[in-house]
């Protein structure tokens, strides 16, 4: 067993992997559908173009597997954007350093104003989001925020810059339960193109973040790529490889996957690769057919119609009522958004929709006393 994922990752070649996915045949797909336990080769078949005619079968199987493992409940979470300051240039992100807009980092008083609104909405699970500005938004800041928020939320997740193992070891006992860290793309060269400046340009440091989280003993971690930067099938395959590696090595950690599709923002990049709704459904089902235990999450980036329908197909958690700007709920609703959201329904409306579909909205799925 290697000490980090880079060693395993380096045994793969992007172009060869891509080719092997595109070469999968209908026969491979049928075999993958019929198998009880599916391998990474089966996953390649399920995300390949050859699987397109089998989408309905995939959806039926994915639904069955999801119901068996998760039942008819949906975890709800809400992002809390703490800061849009960022030292990185990311060609696709509204917080990018070269995007000339007013920057803001919430003060403790402002955070509590936001919290009041989120609590009123019914949330007990919050996802903290920032850009990467190490001079202002650093471990000390996160420590202070966790101490502030812990009494108010049962579960606190974080989607911020990658940190060192020691930083995570400090934050986890303070109530940090889940960390999301998306690789953006596993295409090494394109990664460099999209992240030309800032600490984020270090591909390996980001690639090994889940290893650092695993070593620190985090309860749950979320993986994914930003769909639109590179060939989504190849990127998703590498996500699956990464997930499999982590599950075996950090076996006490839970895992979730997200599939953010590139969304418009002010001055932003057009996606290099378009992924259709049909293809996103294919990907969601393929992940579920590969892994019956992993949590699959869908954000408000997606449309109302899409979100309403994928609930029964494999998704187990979703955000609702999201604002993607610091202070967006109460303090400064007009500040810069990271990206535009698509489903603008309130959490109450989402809850009603879920109820209508026979699902229960779960606002609390953890207790801080357990940590």
């Amino acid at each position: 067993m290697t000490d980090n994922f880079t060693t395993l990752f380096n045994t793969y070649n992007w172009e060869q992997t891509k080719q092997s996915i595109y070469e999968k045949t209908a026969e491979d797909v049928v075999r993958a559908l019929g198998n009880n336990k599916r391998t990474l080769e089966d996953f390649k078949a399920l995300i390949s173009p050859a699987a397109a005619p089998y989408l309905e079968q995939m959806a039926q199987l994915s639904r069955q597997a999801t119901l068996k493992r998760f039942g008819k409940v949906m975890q709800l979470y809400v992002p809390l954007y703490l800061s849009n300051e960022c030292n990185n240039i990311c060609t696709y992100c509204g917080f990018s350093l070269d995007n000339k807009v007013r920057r803001k980092t919430l003060s403790p008083i402002e955070i509590m104003q936001e919290v009041a609104v989120l609590k009123e909405m019914g949330y007990d699970h919050v996802l903290l989001v920032t850009g990467e500005a190490n001079q202002t938004v650093h471990t000390e800041y996160f420590k202070a925020v966790l101490e502030l928020l812990r009494p108010h939320f049962a579960l606190i997740s974080m989607e911020v810059q990658p940190l060192d193992t020691e930083d995570y070891e400090v934050l986890i006992p303070l109530g940090l339960n889940t960390v999301l860290v998306y690789q953006e793309t596993y295409h090494r060269e394109d990664y460099k193109k999209h992240h030309p400046k800032g600490k984020k340009s270090n591909f390996e440091y980001r690639l090994e973040t889940p290893d650092r989280l695993g070593k620190a003993g985090v309860h749950k971690m979320g993986l994914g790529v930003l769909i639109g930067l590179e060939d989504w099938r190849t990127d998703s395959f590498f996500t699956a490889v990464h997930l499999g590696y982590l599950e075996k090595k950090y076996w006490q950690t839970k895992y979730s996957l997200s599939f953010p599709r590139l969304r418009p923002f002010s001055g932003g990049l057009e996606p290099k690769v378009e992924m259709s709704d049909r293809e996103l459904v294919q990907l969601i089902c393929a992940y579920r057919l590969l892994n019956e235990e992993v949590e699959l999450s869908i954000s408000t980036r997606e449309s109302v119609v899409f979100r309403d329908h994928v609930i029964g197909l494999g998704i187990t958690s979703m955000s609702a009522g999201s604002k993607t700007n610091p202070g967006g709920y109460a303090v400064e609703p007009e500040s810069l958004e990271q990206f535009e959201i698509c489903d603008e329904r309130t959490p109450e409306e989402i809850k009603d929709m879920l109820k209508e579909k026979g699902y229960e909205a779960v606002w609390k799925d953890w207790d801080r006393l357990l940590q």
Partner: protein, 254 residues
């Protein structure tokens, strides 16, 4: 080929030396099995005597000795036995067997984990015999085990793979080789274990007590090869899927 620690094995059939009607039959059966790893119960051999009836029959270049600690009741005794074996047999490989229960010989998970931690620190290549417990396997990995040896059914029972559901979980999440040990009663059990992805099997009783141990050893050799080949070739699917009358994806056509 299978690698455990720094050793490469061509054969995925490991064998034991107990219960044979004579040392002669044992020797012939082991040779017929093609096995390259043979367990020897420390309690049964005379470590000081090179002419020991069992040890003297295992003097082939392809045969690696795997002393086992059968008979010990706790971690302390196991560590002591392993150190003795290392000195006498000049091998740092040890099959850790701690079963304080004399009736069913069920392995003690707590003492096994303790002993594995300690033996790994002392530089031993530890192969612990355990119940088919997936969580214990992960703890053993963290403790530095070289492989795990979950049982298929109670030792010596010939009942086959009663623990198959748990073996499958262990195999799916293991970072170290999984050797199915104990309970394998027929070549078809060994083939099944290999088909589900076990890295090797260890067989003793089924060979030793058969009417023709030499022939049975050969049968196991072939079964293990066949099972492994089937695993590598990927078995065909056996379940079918149905398409519901109310499609889940029709919204994509709107």
């Amino acid at each position: 080929m299978l690698t455990i620690a720094d050793k490469v094995f061509n054969s995925r059939l490991f064998t034991g030396t107990g219960k044979f009607s004579s040392a002669d039959i044992m020797e012939q059966a082991l040779l017929a099995s093609g096995s390259e790893l043979v367990t020897v119960a420390l309690k049964r051999v005379d470590l000081k005597d090179k002419e020991d009836d069992i040890l003297s029959r295992l003097n082939y270049p392809q045969l690696n000795l795997l002393p086992n600690t059968s008979g010990v009741r706790n971690a302390k005794e196991a560590v002591f036995a392993a150190q003795m074996a290392r000195e006498a047999l000049e091998t740092n490989w040890i099959k850790l067997e701690i079963h304080p229960d004399p009736k069913y010989l069920m392995p003690d998970p707590i003492e096994t984990l303790k002993a594995t931690e300690e033996l790994a620190k002392l530089g031993f290549i530890v192969l612990p015999y355990i119940h088919a417990d997936p969580v214990l396997c992960k703890h053993l990995e963290n403790a530095g085990t070289a492989a795990v040896m979950p049982l298929g059914s109670p030792i010596g029972s010939n009942k086959g793979l009663k623990t198959i559901d748990f073996l499958e979980i262990i195999i799916s999440q293991s970072n170290v080789p999984v050797i199915v040990d104990a309970g394998i009663g027929a070549p078809s059990d060994a083939a099944k274990a290999m088909e589900i992805g076990a890295d090797a099997v260890l067989v003793n009783t089924a060979i030793a007590v058969s009417r023709d141990p030499v022939k049975m050893a050969e049968a196991f050799k072939i079964a293990v090869i066949a099972g492994r080949m089937a695993f590598e070739a990927k078995l065909g699917s056996i379940n079918s899927y149905a398409v519901s009358s109310s499609p889940l994806t029709s919204f994509l056509d709107d």
